[in-house]
Point group: none
């Protein structure tokens, strides 16, 4: 079997009912405990982020540790949950992504789906291209930092 992680890039289109296919590879990588369910939410970039149900449960546990009295904690929790929704894929492996998320990512017809090891990103093709060209310019400092971070000790 596979590696249980998400890798690779896939190009799909949304149909008239707003359904998007999830790559078979990714569906197979889901553990049983995720019950054929992905959790989609807003990304910090202009995209949609998808977690396995398992991974999302971990995130929820973290959020539950926050104080319910401190306003900043509540605000953070609210921001993290309000755009999240668990989606079970249908018999053909598709999910219907909520309209507000499609809007946030500027998705109309085509999507690019990218495996990010422990999560998945869904992009509008043009938006992604724009990000590649402008946003993602590593300077020397960034490279240094990332290099330190990713060197196995």
């Amino acid at each position: 079997m596979g590696t249980n992680t998400f890798t690779g890039e896939f190009h799909y289109s949304i149909d008239t009912k707003g359904r998007v296919n999830i790559p078979a590879k990714f569906r197979k990588a889901l553990p049983d405990s995720s019950e054929d369910t992905f959790v989609v939410t807003r990304g910090l970039d202009e995209n949609i982020v998808v977690y396995s149900l398992d991974k999302w449960r971990d995130k929820e546990e973290d959020l539950l540790k926050l104080s319910s009295i401190k306003p900043e904690h509540r605000a953070f929790k609210r921001q993290a949950t309000r755009f999240a929704s668990p989606l079970k894929f249908d018999g053909q492996g598709r999910v219907a992504i909520p309209g507000n998320l499609l809007e946030h990512a500027g998705i109309e017809k085509e999507v690019v789906i990218i495996g990010m090891i422990d999560e998945i990103e869904i992009w509008d093709p043009d938006t992604l291209k724009r990000y590649e060209e402008t946003e993602f310019q590593l300077d020397a400092e960034d490279i240094e930092a990332i290099d330190n971070y990713t060197r196995s000790s």
Copy 2:
């Protein structure tokens, strides 16, 4: 079945009888022990907070731990309970929210309902927007603190 937690955002309107729909997703997430009942009360923000009957029972236990001598504790306990009322939803999944709570949240016609994992918030759309924009923008310190708080896995 589902995730048994509340997530996502929903936009509804109150009808002429003061009834508000509770998202079917949230109703389904209720355990049997909650007996089709939610407990609504004032939020610490300018909103209404909704608990499952189960969760509310836990809250009550927590409140009982407060000091009965310290005035601030009494005040907190009083504030938390005096506006709370259990509401059973009707056959169509709606509840009639008490007028004083609607007033507190500045709700007139439209509402935004937000899943907060273990509780639910009901907002007036404009009030929510105001909060997003002005009240609680997390600064770097807050993010650092929350990040530390939620790092464990």
